[in-house]
Amino acid sequence: MENLILKLKKQIIDALNLEDMEPDEIETDEALFDDGLGLDSIDALELIVLTEKNYGIKIEDPKDGKKIFYSVKTLAEFIKKHKTN
């Protein structure tokens, strides 16, 4: 889980162009959207692509994203639960 969390943080920084940010600056439990990292709706869509591209998990309804992408921790738990291979 720790490895997955670190990997995810790196992937998020890369996919969302969070330049000048280091993985340990993203709090694992902290909200990614709104008050947290200040991500927006396009970032949420980009995270859907990230999840599918890197972990083969499709999120059909963007509304589900709210819970899944709440924090790095919720995303890691979602991936762990749904990853098939």
Partner: protein, 588 residues
């Protein structure tokens, strides 16, 4: 007066205005489920015009079918048909051609199309030139690419140029074709409807992408061809300054735009009989549009939308729906909004459920698009509440400041302010970062922008620094009028890479959103809370004289009091970049 003299609509339900309207009256939609794998890996509801039909029609006017792309053929057919009912001299220097499109020949970026046509055909100014040349027209050609308001904005621009006596006639033609590019992008945005789109409906799930072309001919002279006497009496554009892909939460910016177009027309909201709406059927756009219509005082006026019949035709839609407004006035009729059953928006509006006959003297056409842009047009019978605002244009502006960004160096009023220390071949993204740091800018969203937006953002940042315009003027009094050569092609090519391989097919919404030239306008407006007039012109050469003249017309027409204007170009395919921005203030 600016008369509508003639027009044409080409869509999935017809090759001229008459056939399109006949089908709308009969409630026939052109939206179908496409299983064409080339267009989309998954089946999708779209509104298409078949190549076969286009080529058959084209063969009747030219034997050079192979020389033109689908996009170009659609526009040639549309202009050709509109000219049949018009007596204007198109080759005269008093006639301007104005094209509107979002993506032009974008399908030429696809692997299988590379080499079929010169790469220059991807340039929007180039395709406009080629289409104009078909008619023997070589000069006085403009191209506007401003997302989904492009068509409306092209008509507004023509109306202004005619009103200011720069031209007597204008041929305004807009089109877009559907390609994997556009479709995959809107799918990545989860914005495509599950079935045919349902504008303003409770159960709407998104838009239906469509193909189309349309032409409107405007003229200052009344003649046989415009005996119906319907005029474009006002027009305005604006920016939400909210988000590059999400519209305003309140609708107040579009409402102000409508009010500005009404004021120019000397009409009140109570005098409006009909609204030809934008109604894309996306969750957010319809919601915002409904709020804006209510805020503008148009809550009781019947609204019709065409997108349930022919989908969203992007660069053509503003022209098509302006023609629909003109036909509603001319034929005394109001069209059904296909797909609409139960109201699903919070603004109080009157969506038309059925076709009906009704006397109509006046109409409003609304439009909104990515980059936060809005536009509104007013049409009326010339005999209704006669009056005309004359424009008094003399040297009516002062240049407050000038910025250039070139080869990594920044100049302010032609004096070098920042000299890059980066070696010659440094990537622009690195240079942009150095400039950003040098000017101590704090705006993390900067890193998410594409090259073109970064360029515009940095120049506007330095331009507005230590000036008082943002506090001196209201947001809606500040215009952003820009031009460039390559539109967003640098980013378009990057987006194409995300969809080139079907085994590694991950269309990126974060890249797609920047595949419109006017996103740079949106970024500047969001950053500085600017809500005034918007436009992006695509021209081969830097058309400074035209830009300055356009601004003086805006000032004389009371559409702006200050403007951020000039050239912002990130050149494709060579990656050269150049920005020259002026801060221009209207003289008291």
């Amino acid at each position: 007066m600016v008369y509508i003299s003639s027009h044409n609509i080409i869509s999935s339900i017809g090759f001229n205005t008459y056939d399109n309207l006949e089908n709308i009256r009969k409630n026939i939609s052109g939206i179908k489920l496409s299983e064409d794998k080339k267009l989309s890996p998954e089946a999708v509801f779209v509104s298409l015009i078949s190549d076969e039909k286009i080529n058959k029609k084209f063969a009747k006017i030219s034997n050079l079918t192979e020389n033109y792309t689908k996009y170009e053929k659609l526009l040639i057919l549309s202009i050709n048909n509109a000219l049949k009912n018009s007596d204007i001299d198109i080759l005269s220097p008093e006639t301007v051609f104005i094209f509107s499109t979002t993506k032009g020949n974008i399908n030429l970026l696809e692997k299988e199309n590379i080499g079929k046509f010169n790469i220059n055909r991807l340039k929007l100014w180039k395709s406009s030139e080629i289409i104009s040349e078909f008619f023997g027209k070589k000069e006085n050609i403009l191209t506007i690419s401003n997302a989904c308001i492009s068509g409306s904005l092209a008509i507004i621009t023509a109306q202004r140029l005619i009103k200011a006596k720069r031209y007597k006639n204008a041929v305004i033609a807009g089109a877009d074709i559907l390609s994997e590019f556009t479709l995959s992008g809107f799918q990545a945005f989860k914005a495509v409807s599950e079935g045919a789109c349902k504008p303003f409906d409770k159960n709407r799930t998104g838009m239906t992408p469509g193909e189309g072309a349309a032409t409107v001919i405007l003229t200052s002279e009344k003649s046989k061809s415009n005996k119906s006497g319907i005029i474009i009496s006002g027009g305005a554009s604006s920016n939400d300054a909210n988000h590059i892909s999400g519209p305003s939460r309140t609708g107040e910016e579009l409402a102000l735009t409508i009010k500005s177009a009404l004021k120019e027309s000397n009409l009140s909201a109570e005098e409006i009989d009909f609204i030809s709406g934008h109604g894309t059927a996306t969750l957010f756009n319809d919601e915002t549009e409904s709020k804006a219509l209510e805020l503008a005082g148009l809550q009781n006026v019947p609204v019709s939308g065409t997108k349930g019949y022919i989908g969203h035709t992007f660069g053509a839609t503003g022209i098509i729906e302006t023609i629909v407004a003109e036909e509603a006035i001319k034929n005394s009729e109001i069209y059904k909004t296909a797909g609409f059953e139960n109201i699903g928006v919070s603004g109080k509006i009157n969506i038309q459920k059925k076709y009906k006959k009704a006397g109509i003297n006046t109409a409003v056409k609304t439009a909104s698009g990515f980059g936060g842009c809005n536009a509104a047009l007013v049409l009326k019978k010339e005999t209704f509440q006669e009056s005309e605002n004359k424009l008094n244009i003399s040297s009516n502006f002062n240049i407050l400041k000038k910025i250039t960004v070139k080869n990594g160096d920044v100049t302010i009023n032609d004096i070098i302010d920042y000299k890059t220390e980066e070696p010659n071949n440094t990537k622009f993204s690195q240079i942009a970062k150095s400039i950003y740091k040098n000017y101590k800018i704090k705006y993390p969203k900067f890193y998410k922008m594409d090259n073109l937006s970064k360029l515009g953002f940095l120049a506007a940042e330095i331009l507005l620094k230590n000036t008082s315009v943002l506090s001196k003027y209201k947001p809606e009094e500040i215009a952003v009028i820009l031009s460039n050569e390559s539109s967003s092609l640098d980013t378009d090519a990057k987006y194409q890479e995300t969809i080139n391989d079907r085994n590694n097919y991950f269309p990126s919404p974060g890249v797609f959103v920047y595949t419109l030239a006017n996103i740079m306008t949106g970024e500047i407006c969001i950053r500085h809370k600017i809500k005034g007039e918007n436009a992006v012109f695509i021209t081969e050469n830097y058309d400074k004289k035209f830009i300055f003249d356009y601004i003086s017309i805006l000032f004389a027409d009371h559409k702006a009091k200050v403007s951020i204007s000039g050239r912002i170009d990130y050149s494709f395919p060579d990656g050269n970049y150049f920005t020259e921005l002026y801060l221009i203030e209207c003289k008291k």
